[in-house]
């Protein structure tokens, strides 16, 4: 005969959705898996390549060169008094972290349906691992920028940083959380209806032009679009970044708070949707 041990169950499987039930404890138990996914992402990217991790730095370098020619020389969008190369490099480095994270996290369910269909682990491990491996890649690129930046400060003395530099970790955190939030929101919505994936591929292009990557908000040429561009939650973050490091751009505490608010709402909403979808997506993906 079996004895019924009334209440002390470890967990329960049911169809009900609890609002915002984020099981952080469970996520913590799977921290080793998280780190291994990060390691796998980093290690497998440059297996069987000769240049290895140097590729991480070469990519933004070449994009920056193009930007210098296209936006700096031809369109004349770069601000005066700031070395163009540093200006575009920081914009591109930040932007590529944001867009890469958004891109990969927005494919969480479709790309991993194979694993997800066979094993249970907290699904959030995958997008989080992408955020972290992306961050390592970002650090390499950012390190490259720092070297260049120090050169401009110490050797050519073209750049004077200011104390707003100390905001860097918070700004980065906001960028990461925003891209993570949008990414997992999109992946949750695309499991059943694939329409959004089309939107993402060209939407990201448009999004970049609505973000001060190739220009600065202090540029008089774009002043008539200001009222729109500030509504992009990334704008104030990118501007604050450039203001701290290069002393160019517009620092706006009002729009920074707006950005934090948007990020918070997006994150809450996306975790809710993600939780709801992760339990059943395998039936519809």
């Amino acid at each position: 005969m079996l004895a019924d041990n009334a209440t002390d169950w470890d967990y329960e499987i049911s169809s009900e959705n609890r609002f915002l039930r984020l099981n952080l404890l469970e996520l913590w138990r799977y921290r080793d898996l998280l780190l291994m996914f990060v390691q796998r992402d980093i290690v497998t990217v440059y297996k069987q390549t000769i240049l290895g991790p140097i590729w991480f730095v070469l990519q933004p370098l070449f994009t920056t060169l193009i930007f210098v020619v296209l936006f700096g020389r031809i369109a004349g969008l770069s601000p005066d008094g700031v070395p163009q190369f540093a200006f575009y490099l920081i914009g591109i480095t930040l932007w590529s972290y944001f867009s890469d994270t958004l891109n990969v996290t927005s494919k969480t369910f479709t790309d991993n349906s194979n694993i997800f269909g066979k094993v249970y682990f907290p699904r959030l491990v995958i997008p989080l691992s992408k955020v972290l491996s992306g961050f390592l890649k970002f650090l390499m690129q950012f390190g490259f920028f720092i070297v260049l930046w120090l050169y401009y400060i110490l050797i050519t003395r073209q750049v004077t940083p200011n104390w707003y530099i100390l905001l860097t970790p918070l700004l980065l955190l906001d960028i990461v959380l925003l891209s993570l939030g949008l990414g997992i929101m999109i992946t949750s919505l695309t499991t059943k209806y694939r329409d959004l994936t089309f939107l993402i591929s060209f939407g990201m292009q448009l999004f970049m032009y609505a973000t001060p990557v190739a220009y600065s908000m202090s540029n008089p040429k774009i002043s008539k679009y200001h009222s729109y561009i500030w509504f992009n939650p990334l704008t104030s973050l990118f501007e604050a970044f450039k203001y701290g490091f290069l002393g160019t751009g517009v620092f706006s505490i009002k729009w920074l708070l707006y950005s934090v608010g948007v990020t918070f709402i997006v994150l809450l909403l996306s975790i809710y949707v993600f939780n709801k979808v992760e339990k059943k997506f395998i039936d519809t993906v």
Partner: protein, 419 residues
């Protein structure tokens, strides 16, 4: 008396048939509208029974319908059922890959599910990296994997290749490594789906014994789905049978399997992995068979014993060879439409009677083939000394037959005709 570790209560799962398209959106909207008004989901009412051979009369189907059962600590549950009866859906729900439409499951203890071996293996990574990766996906911590690492490599037998990317592995090595990780999981409850269908016969045997070891000696609770009746009967102590998404039977494993086999009636999914499960004990009436005349009926009594084997539609063929290894008699059971069922741990006596074959004097050897109706071999007995035919008193004369060069010596008459 053991504690309940898994309690499944009224689990149902509704699936949508056909494709997801714009129709799904309208259904979703209707569903949301019903929920908003506090009404029941309109599509749950019209789901059909999951019988894939019939045409569906609704867009929705109940892959599982109102399943309830309990598993105690240390129980090894076998889940049987035909293809599409809902076994995999049940496992997916139990391993939290998808959630049920209604009902709930309560679980005590840690769970690992093996619905596939080698989940998360990356071709570019080495064996070592993949062991860690795969182990972590299955829920182990890095420390646990490290402590079992040598055992895993040993079990898989890939010591030499541990630091080589798995894309260079032979498919057998790959599968062995994958199973080895799974076999060293250290959780309270294991959910296993058909993973035994990997590797060569030797490795399958190794896997099977590892599984019984895990369940019997380490006291783990195991849920096991397989079409391999031999494996199920070997490992499990309780069983449930699913049929079209409905729990058709639950009870001890022998009863469940008997029910399952009875239900199948010539199904094609019964397999036996080893011929040691059906044993030939010998010919019982050898003394009689040693002294036959060409004219007499040859009557063999063959004795068999079954062990862990369940099988329906067993057929048997006989061949009789003479001393020159020439086949002189060939008999097949399906010419007579004879077949029989094998149940575990029983004795069987099979009578094979050849009516007066008029064989030439000499020694004869019997070959017996036992096989399942699908042609799957069970037992092959080769060239056993079966009978001796003497020529004494044949044709009513007291003389021995001599210089026989034919295989048979039918009675004959020679007469002079009158014109």
């Amino acid at each position: 008396m053991s504690r309940i570790v898994i309690k499944v209560e009224n689990i149902s799962k509704l699936y949508r048939l056909g494709q997801i398209g714009t129709g799904t959106l309208t259904h979703d909207l209707k569903r949301m509208w019903a929920k908003y008004r506090g009404k029941e989901d309109p599509y749950q009412k019209i789901g059909t029974v999951n019988d894939r051979s019939k045409k569906a009369d609704s867009d929705y189907v109940w892959a599982l319908n109102d399943i309830s059962f309990e598993i105690g600590d240390g129980d090894i549950l076998g889940i049987v059922g035909k293809n599409g009866s809902g076994k995999s859906t049940l496992l997916k729900i139990l391993s939290r890959i998808t959630s049920p439409t209604t009902g709930n499951i309560k679980i005590k203890g840690s769970v690992a599910s093996l619905l596939e071996v080698g989940t998360g293996f990356h071709a570019e990574m080495t064996g070592r990296e993949n062991i860690y990766m795969n182990g972590a996906i299955l829920g182990m911590t890095k420390k646990e994997i490290s402590s079992k690492f040598d055992e895993i490599v040993d079990f898989a037998g890939v010591q030499m290749y541990v630091d080589t990317p798995v894309k260079r592995y032979s498919s057998g090595m790959y599968v062995r490594l994958a199973f080895a990780v799974a076999a060293h999981l250290d959780t309270d409850i294991l959910i296993i789906d058909e993973v035994l269908a990997v590797g060569d016969a030797d490795f399958q045997k190794k896997c099977l014994s590892k599984m019984s070891d895990v369940s019997k000696n380490q006291g783990k609770t195991v849920l096991f789905v397989s079409h391999n009746i031999y494996a199920v009967s070997e490992i499990c102590n309780i069983g449930i049978m699913l049929e079209n998404g409905i729990l058709a039977y639950k009870g001890n494993i022998a009863d469940t399997l008997t029910k399952y086999i009875a239900n199948k009636h010539g199904g094609t999914e019964v397999y036996v992995t080893s011929n040691k499960e059906f044993l030939f004990n010998g010919i019982q009436n050898l003394n009689v068979l040693n002294d036959l005349s060409p004219n007499s009926d040859i009557h063999f009594l063959l004795s068999f014993t079954s062990r862990n084997i369940y099988l329906v539609n067993t057929m048997i063929d006989f061949n009789l060879y003479n001393e020159n290894n020439e086949n002189v008699v060939h008999s097949r059971s399906n010419w007579l439409e004879f077949k029989f069922d094998i149940k575990p741990n029983s004795n069987y006596l099979i009578e094979y009677k050849v009516k007066s074959p008029k064989l030439s004097p000499g020694k004869y050897f019997l070959t017996v083939y036992l096989y399942h109706g699908t042609g799957f071999p069970i037992l092959h007995i080769d060239n056993i000394e079966a009978c001796t035919i003497n020529a004494k008193n044949y044709f009513g004369k007291s003389l021995y037959l001599d210089n026989v060069i034919s295989n048979t010596v039918p009675e004959f008459e020679i007469k002079l005709g009158s014109e």
